[in-house]
Every structure is written in structure tokens, then in C-alpha cells.
């Protein structure tokens, strides 16, 4: 192998692609899209805090309305003095969202409160009203039953599970399992998409050289294995470039997103003259727990190994196909393992330590997607990570050997797309 030739091929692959419009647009649009999503979410939060659904309470008992107003004074209005007809008119004119009449029956009997409204607000609104009423009516019932304070407290207690992680070194940490589960899934999906998109670049590049009929000119100067290696390295360098730009853009966006959202909310709060909103905390989705460096390093390792493992196969498929449209059937042997890994990921995401998750994360064709998901979520024993990496390297050697055999013959076979039978013959040659 001549490194000079490989480098020349790499350089061409990289430069022509990096200058292409498609690449430039994708590189710009992804962070812009990300910024847009964050922007929309900030906008929704800001906007949501302004919009209020006003529910009029006509409270015949006199015990329910005050507690409700205590819970949310902007939503619940004590309209006990008004007649039902006037309340109906208010709702009809959209002056208020709806009204609820509370009578003795709601407390003494098992009769549900009834919300009369125009139908706006949606599920979230209904559920929060429901839970507010459940709480308040239960409190009234408890107090009427004259149960001891002790029992009242028992009923009022809301039990949640708090979790802390104990590291092997004996340190207790805040547990971000839920956040990390999403990170794990995200990383898995990123690798899944990358394998397909960068692999697709390679397949199309190989087919392009075949259909342009330049490949034989190149082959008279470069060994097929050098051409293949150069191509894979070139597209790999492209992937690294794109990801570096994206990661920098994301890092930048997430650092400025918080303060920007803050100032937006402050300004909107001061405009509405409501000071309590300004004191509100950042919305939860902008409060990123820190991701460990080791996870990023593992992501890079599994990303690169996954890319290498599959990209040579994508090149082999390109060499066996005669036109862009003929790749579908040939793609199957690659698509199936990636898709299986992708589906298992939705199981792994929920139970990362199940036998299915552990075993399939060590299978080399699944590792790039599943192991990174597991590493993100749970504490994976090092022997599992180590053996999956080792197996992937060995498998890469195998796929590279196989692909170079197919590629060598495929690039010079014109006229028709090869069948699997043909490909088998090429390998045996």
C-alpha cells in the first residue's frame, strides 16, 4: 500500500465533498434547526406562562374556592355570587374559559365536579384542573371527617422516589438516569443515522466512479485497496469535520440558550407587570446536567468503529451495483443488522442491563448503536466494553477483507448489477 496514493484519494474525496452544496447546507441547517427547536420551546414556555385559563368557581360550600385560589390564584376565580346564567354568558362570550359549580353533593357524595367550558385548553389544562380538585375536595372531606391530624398528614403526603448514584469509589452523586436515558437513545440514533448517511455517501461515490467510467483510469494508477481505503478515510474525515462543527455549534447554542431564554422571560414578565414570573427558574429542558467526558470519548470510539465496520461494506455494494437505483436489494444484508440494532435500542433504552441488551450490545454489528446507549445509561462493566471494541476491530478486519475482494472485481464489472451469486464468485476468486 502506498500512503501517498491513499492520501491523494482521501484529499480528493474530502475536498470535493466539503465544497459541495449538499454538505454545506446540511452542516448549516442542522444547528439552525436545533436552534429553532430550542427557540420554539423557549417561546412556548414564555408564551404558556402568559396564557391563563380562567375557571370561575361558584362555590356553595365556601370551603373549596379559597383552597383552589391558594393553589393557583391566576386560574381560579371565586364567582360564588354570580348566577349560573351569568356564568354561562361569560363562557359563551369567551370572557372566562369555563366554570364549575361546587355543591354539598360534591363533598358528601361521590359526585364529580363538572367543568362547563368552551372546549379550549386541551388535555394538560383538564388534567391539572382535575388534580387540583382531587386534592382540594379530599382535603375538605378529610377535615370534615374530623380525622386526627396525623392521618390527615398521611393522606396529604405525596411519596416520590428520590435516587442517588453510589459510584464504585464510594461517592454519592445526583442521579440523572432519566436525562441520561435520553442521551443514550440520542447517541444511538445519531450513530444509526450516521452509518446510513455516510455509508450512502460512499456507495454513491463508488457508483459515480463506475457510471462515469473513470474508475479504470484511476485503477491504472492506484490499487483498488488504496482507492477503497482513501475513500473511506476521506468520507470519515468529512464526518469528523461535520460533527466537530455541529458539536461546537450545539455547545455554543446551549451556553447562550439559557441566558437568552432568561432575558426573554424577564422582558415578557416585566411587560405584563408580573414580577413572580421573572423569578421563575429556567425551564427544565434548558438545564442540562453535565455529560461525562468518558461518554464523549466512548461515543467517538464507537462512532468511528461503527463507521469503519459498515463503510467498507457500503463501498462493496456500490461496486457491485451498476446504477444508483439498483442498490436496494444489495443493501439488505447491511440494512437488516442496523435495523435490528435500532429496534433493540428501544428495549435497551428502558432496561439497559437485561440479558438481551447485554448480549446484543457485544455483537459487533449491533455494538455501535447498543453499547453506546448502555454506556450512557448504566454502569457497563469494562470487560463488556472491551470485548465489544475488540470484536468490532476483528470484524472490521473481516469486512474490510471481504469488501476489498468484492470491490476489486466489482469496479471493473460494467453492464449489469451483480447478483449475490456473482458476488460470492468474486469472493472466491
Amino acid at each position: 500500500m502506498s500512503w501517498r496514493q491513499i492520501f491523494l484519494v482521501l484529499k480528493r474525496e474530502y475536498i470535493t465533498r466539503v465544497k459541495s452544496k449538499g454538505f454545506i447546507w446540511a452542516t448549516i441547517l442542522v444547528p439552525v434547526g436545533f436552534a429553532a427547536v430550542i427557540g420554539i420551546m423557549v417561546f412556548i414556555t414564555v408564551w404558556e406562562s402568559e396564557s391563563t385559563f380562567e375557571v370561575a368557581i361558584k362555590d356553595d360550600t365556601g370551603q373549596v374556592a379559597p383552597s383552589l385560589i391558594e393553589i393557583n390564584e391566576r386560574r381560579y376565580l371565586d364567582y360564588s355570587d354570580l348566577e349560573i346564567d351569568s356564568l354561562r354568558t361569560l363562557v359563551q362570550q369567551d370572557r372566562i374559559t369555563g366554570y364549575i359549580v361546587i355543591t354539598e353533593e360534591n363533598i358528601t357524595e361521590r359526585r364529580n365536579p363538572e367543568l362547563i367550558y368552551r372546549g379550549s385548553g386541551g388535555m394538560e389544562f383538564l388534567m391539572s384542573v382535575e388534580s387540583d380538585f382531587r386534592q382540594v375536595i379530599r382535603e375538605v372531606r378529610l377535615s370534615r371527617a374530623e380525622v386526627s391530624e396525623e392521618i390527615q398528614e398521611i393522606y396529604e403526603a405525596r411519596i416520590n422516589l428520590d435516587t442517588r448514584r453510589l459510584t464504585r469509589e464510594g461517592e454519592e452523586q445526583d442521579d440523572d438516569t432519566i436525562f441520561l436515558s435520553f442521551v443514550g437513545m440520542l447517541l444511538g440514533i445519531i450513530i444509526f443515522i450516521s452509518i446510513f448517511s455516510y455509508g450512502g455517501y460512499i456507495t454513491r461515490g463508488v457508483i459515480e466512479e463506475k457510471t462515469n467510467r473513470i474508475v479504470e483510469v484511476i485503477a491504472s494508477s492506484v490499487k483498488p485497496i488504496e482507492l477503497l481505503t482513501g475513500k473511506m478515510a476521506g468520507v470519515g474525515a468529512l464526518a469528523i469535520t461535520q460533527f466537530t462543527i455541529w458539536i461546537l455549534a450545539f455547545a455554543g447554542l446551549t451556553t447562550i440558550a439559557g441566558p437568552v431564554a432568561m432575558s426573554l422571560m424577564e422582558s415578557s414578565a416585566s411587560a405584563s407587570g408580573d414580577l413572580t414570573a421573572a423569578e421563575a427558574e429556567l425551564p427544565a429542558f434548558l438545564d442540562f446536567p453535565t455529560v461525562e467526558i468518558s461518554l464523549i470519548v466512548y461515543f467517538i470510539i464507537f462512532f468511528i468503529l461503527g463507521y469503519l465496520l459498515y463503510s467498507s461494506l457500503f463501498a462493496a455494494i456500490g461496486s457491485a451495483a451498476d446504477s444508483d437505483t439498483d442498490t436496494q436489494q444489495l443493501m439488505l444484508p447491511i440494512t437488516i443488522p442496523i435495523m435490528i440494532a435500532y429496534f433493540i435500542m428501544f428495549h435497551t433504552w428502558r432496561s439497559p442491563d437485561s440479558i438481551l441488551s447485554v448480549v446484543s450490545s457485544i455483537i459487533p454489528f449491533f455494538s455501535p448503536i447498543l453499547m453506546i446507549t448502555r454506556i450512557a445509561i448504566t454502569d457497563v462493566p469494562f470487560w463488556q466494553i472491551g470485548s465489544s471494541i475488540l470484536l468490532m476491530i476483528l470484524t472490521f478486519a473481516g469486512t474490510m477483507w471481504l469488501s476489498s475482494k468484492i470491490y476489486k472485481v466489482g469496479i471493473l464489472s460494467y453492464g449489469s448489477t451483480a447478483s449475490f451469486k456473482d458476488i460470492l464468485k468474486w469472493i472466491r476468486q
Binding site: L8, E208, I214, V217, I218
Partner: protein
Amino acid sequence: MTTIDVNNLSKTFGKTKAVIDASFEVERGRIFGLLGPNGAGKTTTIRMINFIMPPDEGEILINGVKAGPKTQRWIGYMPEERGLYKKMKVGEQLIYLAQLKGLTASDAREKIRYWLKRFGAYDWHSKTVGELSKGMSQKIQFIATIVHDPDIYIFDEPFSGLDPINSELLKEIIIELREKGKTILFSTHRMEQVEQMCDDICLFNNGKVVLTGNLRKVKKDFGKNTVLIEFEGDPAFLDQLENVRINNRSTNFAEIRILEGLDHQDILRKAMENTEVHKFQLVEPSLNEIFISTVGEDNIKQKELAV
């Protein structure tokens, strides 16, 4: 001195024996024609000389060195299936191809400038190949083949797909290269092209070399036993001739190969009895005729010998 020395070359693809025990030598400073019908094994042989695929058996020596990455740089190769990157600019593309042949970028740039100017194509430097016409991109293809100034040039079916202007241009280039002392090997299934240009030939059929040597000598060995006749009148007399093979025939012209025994004067006599003879000439056989009589009529598919 031998530039390309092919010894007992064999190559098999699955069950197909593409090349069987082929040997020939290409001398320095000469134009060598590799001839034969489609599927005879020419392209496979050429690919092995270019080290694009390895031989199963046998050996290829280029200037005494076994074919390999090193010898690739001494060769300029224009394959039958040829093309360029459509989206790449002409200049960048030529630099890339020249660099792959071992030139430095600055060296390549200088030579590319020379050739683009020479072909009146200097303005195309910054255009992509996709923007060029077919004829224009063929010229770029020539430049890509010769830009690294190798000693050996290999053209596989060079004239197929070329427009007449570029065909002439390529012939000029080939002749000019020979005058500079370069060695040229080209393959074709169109025998008549070779007659004008080749010094030496090698005939391929079904993967085997059936005849190789100096074109003049090959023809001389076959003797002056072909008659070219032009006449006016009923050509039916041609069908009555025995022991001949009529290769090229139209209403008032025929190329007749005399096989055995028959005196060419007999043909003339018969022709004069039946028609008005305008021209009667005794010549060396055409390459096409030599090919047919070497491999035997039964062993070739006539339609594959293009006219």
C-alpha cells in the same frame, strides 16, 4: 529492445478462460496493434499489463521490471470504458490524475497548461467536465492519458466513440509520440485501422495469440494472393469461382482471396467474359483476410468482425 514482454500469460474468470498462455513482445519506439474480435481477451491482457488485475499465470515485464505500482507510472492508459468526474473542474481533475501518476502538483500544473493550450482548450480549465461537450471531454481524456509524459502508451479501442475530428487528432498524437521514440500499444477489433498505423501486430482469438510479428512481414508471408477487382455488369460470375473466398463484395467491387491452385488470370478471364473490368489488382491480403485464414472461418463469429 523489448519494452513490454508478455510471457505465457493466463487469466481465468470462474469458468471462462479469458486469456490462455499468451506471449508477445512490444518493441521500443513502435506502434503495436492488439487485434481480435470482441471477447478475444484483449482488454483482459491490457488490464494485466497495466497491473489493474494480476495474472493467474505467466509474467509481464515492463522495461525488464515486473508489472506493479512502479511500472504503472511509466504507462499512460486510456481504457475502452473511459470517462472523467463530471462534477470536478477540468484543471483540478487533471492535476489529481497526474499526481496519482507520481507528478508533483506544480509539475502537473505546468504540463496541463501546455496541453490545454496545445488543444485550444485553455479556457476550459475552470469548467466542470459536465459542462463540456462530448468532443471536448474526449480531448481532456487524451490529456489525462499523456500528461505525465510516460514512455509507454496503451489505448484500448481508442477510436470507439470518438468523433471524426478527435479520431484524426488521436492518430496525429500517436504518430507524433512514435516520432519522439515512445512505445504505443493499442487494441482494436477494426482491422482496417491498424493497417495504416501499426508496425507490429498480435492477433487474439478466444483468449489465445494466433499470430504475432511485424505487420509487413506477416503480410509478405501470406503472399500476393488477393485480387481486388472493379467491374461493371452482372456480378453472378463471382459465385461460380471455386477455391476462393470473397471478403468484400458490392455490386461492382470484390476482394477475392485465392485459396489454392487457381490462377488469378483465370479470374480475370472469367470477369472479362461476363463484365467490363475497370480495375484488376493483385495485392497482399488484408489483415481481416489474414485473421480469417489464420483462425479458420469456423472459429470466428463473422458479425463480431466489424466492417
